[in-house]
């Protein structure tokens, strides 16, 4: 397998993985492309490498920047903008965890709290069962949130070194 073939494989695999996690195939592919590029790339480079339109590149790169895992790089004397991906895999993982926590975990916790303001006859067994289910979902979500929060604040070395040892 040549370097280029390997890159292509990885980009495809990353795109597929993205799809099953609610990230659009193209966004994941742009991310993978920048991740394996040894140098920052321009919009045109990305267009050419993935055979997609200018607008598409622009949107996906912007989204990746919103996720905090791709940066704009300005080269002195160059008019064009260059993009590079965060290469530190731990940082990427943490950044994604942080964003998903903010975008999805926190909203669902708020929704669960809202829903538990149900005013109803607590002696009704159906109401009781519902309240219990919601309460458990909330506990689970809050626990996950707290755990993520802690992991996010943890430094890289701790993870690579001894995360899994804690679970022995």
């Amino acid at each position: 397998m040549t370097l280029d073939e390997a890159k292509q494989h990885l980009i495809q695999a990353w795109g597929t993985l993205g799809s099953s996690w609610g990230v659009s195939r193209t966004m994941a592919q742009v991310h993978a492309l920048l991740l394996v590029s040894p140098v920052p790339m321009t919009t045109e480079d990305i267009m050419e490498a993935l055979q997609i339109s200018r607008g598409n590149v622009n949107m996906n790169v912007r989204d990746l920047m919103d996720w905090g895992i791709v940066r704009k790089v300005l080269k002195p004397g160059e008019r064009k903008e260059f993009f590079e991906a965060e290469k530190d895999v731990w940082k990427v993982g943490m950044q994604v965890a942080k964003e998903r926590k903010k975008r999805e975990l926190e909203p669902i916790i708020r929704a669960l709290e809202q829903v538990s303001t149900i005013e109803a006859d607590i002696t009704d067994p159906d109401v009781k069962q519902f309240a219990e289910t919601v309460e458990n979902l909330k506990k689970f979500a809050v626990n996950a949130d707290r755990t993520l929060e802690t992991i996010i604040k943890t430094d890289e070395n701790w993870f690579w070194g001894s995360f899994f040892k804690l679970f022995k």
Copy 2:
């Protein structure tokens, strides 16, 4: 808020959450519906509650059963099949973690391994950088896999009681 309103809210919120995690809105809604139903439901009950077609209910219920978070219940003397969701939130979470690990984490690890069989001049700095990135992705994935594996084998009580304390 009445019980029914609260249920509707939760079903909607669950559907939205599903979307951002690569689960179809309807599948998440069927799951939520069964989760808050005090009794097992038939295909027709679900059709009516969510206003969706028979085929759609059938497919999504089957998928939920594949995920191991919904069961078929047969009532003696009844011709129809009933469905109920696993109510234990911890079990649901673990089951989903287990399936996603199998369906998505393991395949990406295999893909990364494949890609690292690249035969190329290791003195080429580009090749070296690529190999390094792939190696780090693999380490991250394997670590996550191992951690998940351990959590999955952990019993419920441990999580609810002291998960987050470990991270202080």
